[in-house]
Symmetry: C2
Subunit: 399 residues, 2 copies
């Protein structure tokens, strides 16, 4: 256990927390990483990287794991630290409201070792205002400290699985305190391992910045999806049009089966829910419409797949359809709000003879998602959701 | 009159046509410009620039006007040309459907001098498909030629008043033929005066490209407006958040009183109307919502202005309000779909004591728009729609 008070504690060694911990350790900072997953901690301390798809992480874990980066499942091991960075997941429930269960547990556990004068920085993406209200209240309740006894700031993670190390090293990182002194102290700590750091006027502004970025992405993917559908209807090659439409002032995104994962499809709801709670329904119409357009893309693709089946000389119910990709995006073994999984299930519910396969998944993993497995070459029709490509067995593929 | 058959004719010497004609002339091409406005033609031939706000145009008109750029109100003067570029305005009617009256008249007049083997290129922004359907039909009817007797292509203007010359010289320009030979021939002609030229697979794709760019702008301005309203509601400085949210993958636009002018608020309707005609209402929901969000911004600003009036110790109906800017955007003396003009009228309809002023306009011009004039410093409350700034007389301004 590291006893030096200049060590920083990072609560949560998941896809976002571990790259941060590794980059901090690599910058010469002593890091105590707290994660309830004991096995994960053991492996990190052995120098074994638990996120193989994260470029550059392996070397850092090998170098620093168990040395300047010490992982532990016990909050008490971090009690001598004076800076705590919290980066644990926040989910949404079925009605798209944030579910703070995991976050509250982590923050209250942290509160029990929090001392007067300590600094706490949150990194998880939040509905704006969360750090200075919910988080502060939980910390006070569990620590017995007064609100002004500790420093509190917010700095949103901007990682993207696969590119997190380079993002931490090069990308602008935003930071805001709940008061001036908190922002200043957090800036000093983060300066030790983040080079492109931007202090903004408040934690709430920093929270909003991250949510706004997600909204930009979601709305622009919805726009790409809408323009794609219009181009298809009008007989225009969307991809050719997009390539020539884009320039320094125009950034039309790529169409898709929708938007999955823990981030982009979730963040707009933070603002939508807040506006609806305030009965300001008209202030979030575009965000809501974009969510609907993106989530409904599976209906569009389902229809397209069914129409493609007409090219085959078989009764529709006997056409073996393979959805070749069920993770939420290519190259990431995650399923949260996966529209590809939702598409396979939708076609199944319609009574079609649907199977699935995935370049990243074994037959058993496909089956564990409640789908039947097929080798793509045995299907009559293959839909590749990452390429948006429909292929008829032995025939041409169309995009 | 230029008799050489290698001269090109440009039909329409307006804000888009004249810079194109000037750049072509400056590249050594002989140009005959046809414009029904006889006085404008006389001035151009005298070397006088009729669009003073267009940077760099004055020198070109002075150099080439009346020499290699000859302006004429008569189509017959261009009858020896073999290339015709049409760049006249297209408006929308009150139900946002395109109004082809001016375009049809110009195209039919051109048809009367069209010869076998000639090339016609359209530059006006169109609903995709227009060049190969309506335009071709009008040309055939008025010329008596068969559809395959002439070459037909499309290359959208991408000018922006004030920056048209640099755009023509540096910005990528897209071109598509209604068939391969038409595209090829148009490419050869345009190569003489456009350096960054991109041939795409069809006129229809080229038409869609321009409309898609407008849709990107409209949707992203709607997003900026929606995020601005949410930030205001939640007590976050939108401008600070935007500045820090934007990076190479995030391009949040600026909020405004809405979107005016002949271009951005019009182009989305080309696609919306086409989808509605096909009863494909769900394919244009985002475009439609964006139009509504942008057009309704004047309601938001009207409410904000009224709430600001409460700071004054006067009955609401006696507060002199000045809308300091009624053109559709700053620095351009145009009113088409101006949301600032619409805002002044809306407040007036509500019975408020509203006046207007504009940095570009005389008192008489303000009055000609049906508004009362006031010198801003005589008003109790000033709203600057270009800065989104509300100023109470003798007080602070808020943004």
């Amino acid at each position: 256990m590291i006893k030096s008070p200049d060590a920083i504690a990072i609560i949560g060694l998941g896809n976002a927390g571990l790259p941060l911990a590794a980059v901090a350790a690599d910058s010469g900072v002593k890091v105590i990483g707290v994660d309830l997953n004991e096995e994960r901690c053991v492996r990190i301390n052995q120098g074994i990287n638990p996120i193989p798809e994260e470029k550059g992480l392996e070397e850092l874990i090998m170098l620093h794991g168990g040395k300047s980066l010490l992982a532990t499942p016990r909050f008490e091991d971090a009690k001598n630290c004076s800076t705590f960075i919290v980066i644990v997941p926040l989910f949404v429930d079925e009605s798209y409201s944030p579910d703070f269960t995991v976050m509250e547990r982590a923050v209250r556990s942290l509160g029990r070792i929090l001392k007067k004068g300590d600094l706490v920085v949150l990194e998880t993406t939040f509905p704006p205002g969360t750090t200075d209200t919910k988080i502060r209240a939980w910390l006070c309740e569990s620590s017995g400290l007064e609100p002004s006894d500790f420093f509190l700031a917010y700095s949103p993670e901007r990682i993207m699985t696969g590119y997190s190390i380079s993002r931490l090293r090069e990308f602008p990182k935003v930071l805001g305190g709940t008061d001036e002194e908190s922002g200043f102290r957090a800036f000093q700590v983060y300066s030790k391992f983040i080079s492109n750091l931007h202090l903004v006027s408040s934690a709430k502004v920093a929270e909003m910045i991250k949510v706004m970025e997600g909204c930009y992405r979601d709305v622009n993917i919805a726009l790409a999806n809408e323009l794609y559908k219009i181009c298809e209807e009008m007989g225009v090659d969307f991809f050719e049009a997009r390539e020539n439409a884009n320039h320094q002032f125009c950034h039309i995104h790529l169409p898709s089966t929708g938007v999955g994962g823990h981030c982009i499809p979730v963040y707009p709801w933070f603002l939508i829910k807040e506006m609806e709670r305030r009965e300001e329904f008209s202030r979030c119409r575009l965000l809501r419409t974009s969510r609907e357009v993106n989530d409904e893309m599976i209906l569009y693709w389902a229809e397209k797949i069914i129409l493609e089946c007409m090219k085959l000389d078989k009764p529709l119910s006997m056409v073996k359809i393979c959805i070749k990709g069920i993770t939420f995006r290519e190259g990431v073994k995650e399923f949260y709000h996966s529209r590809n999984l939702a598409l396979a299930r939708l076609l199944s519910e319609k009574g079609l003879d649907v199977y699935a396969a995935d370049p990243l998944l074994s037959e058993d993993m496909v089956k564990s998602k409640g789908l039947r497995y097929i080798r793509p070459e045995e299907a009559d029709l293959i839909f590749d959701p990452f390429e948006l490509r429909l292929t008829v067995a032995g025939g041409d593929s169309t995009r």
